[in-house]
Symmetry: C2
Subunit: 207 residues, 2 copies
Amino acid sequence: MTGTETRRERQRRELVAEIVAIARRQLDEGGRAAVSWRGIAREVGMNPASLYTYFPSLDDLFTALILESYGSLATAVRPSADEPPHEGVAAYCRAYLDWALTNPSQFNLIWTDQLPGYEAPPGGPTVDAETAVIAPLVEVIGAALGTEASVEQLGSVAEETLHRYLSVWGTLHGLVALLVNHHLPFVDDPERLVVDQVVRSVDALRD
Amino acid sequence: MTGTETRRERQRRELVAEIVAIARRQLDEGGRAAVSWRGIAREVGMNPASLYTYFPSLDDLFTALILESYGSLATAVRPSADEPPHEGVAAYCRAYLDWALTNPSQFNLIWTDQLPGYEAPPGGPTVDAETAVIAPLVEVIGAALGTEASVEQLGSVAEETLHRYLSVWGTLHGLVALLVNHHLPFVDDPERLVVDQVVRSVDALRD
DNA sequence: CATCTTCTCCGAACAGTGTTCGGATAGCAA
DNA sequence: TTGCTATCCGAACACTGTTCGGAGAAGATG
């Protein structure tokens, strides 16, 4: 019986979800600085000290927020089954860009370090979450090139091949990052810029 | 006579420079959260309230910091006269990457928005500072293609041409951003990754 | 049922932050 | 020397994250 859940366990699970949801809304509305321990406590109607029952510190709440954002992005870029395979790269680019423009604070939270010198633990959950975001991209690139690539194979492939796949991701990520952070205000059609140029960079991978 | 500078003016200029220098060191050592108004006041041996004589608020100190970082990067990527012209793109990539890896906090401060919804004023100094960083890149790309491009011409050129130049910047910026923020820990030689792939993306611009 | 343990929650407190205000003092121009 | 202004300080305000001790409820054990 896995369905046996005591009353306290259910309330705990619901409250944790509510705390994360409030924090995510605060993040979306006012950036990282707007996520406040005491502000969350006020919204859930509890004493600030009581929140330590659910998260050891504010940083732990942020890691939960990071993991949730990774999952949200991974879901957004997951290819739909009814999509034409040769449109895979373009579809991935559109999903990546749209998610970033819709959730700019989460985008920067995921990809930009806040503490200098911090490195994610090698076996940690953030690397898995990041892999879930990148794996679909590797597959659609492989499909576009007709080579059936997967993210696991990429670990034992020639360095040049790895670098070429990374350059595609770099092009996509770089353009999206510049767009999200308002460094290309003169671009009229961001989607066309990103899709066309990334598709072109994939085509350039053929020898 | 422009050299006439009263004693107060000199002290003010020196103190402003000292404040910015301390803030930059705090930023480099502990990230944005480590830049503290009261901490600066302690270091210069003054009351926190006295600093408001020199900066209206902490945000204004950060804009000064941003402008200084832009200038530092612009100086780093400025091509040296004795460099072979056909190596221009590679040299720019190396400078961009080295500066970013040496000053990760400043890199993220410049390129990543901290407040959602904030947009730089159109005629503001940050756009000029950003232009000073990008102009050399446009020139070395033009030199590599043999078309003598400049950043002023880029405003009135075909959209497709503009997008192709932006894709080069996007590739460079994206790879560097991923490297700076520890998202490519498995890459052995970051410099080769960045230089080779960006040079390849420039070569792919030829029809 | 009663007992015992663990979880939950609170109030108070501590150290820290950015910022404002009133007043004292020094530099500078008239 | 007389004014004006820039500078600087101390005190205060409204916040922040975090720790601690205690009170009470929930769950498990007898």
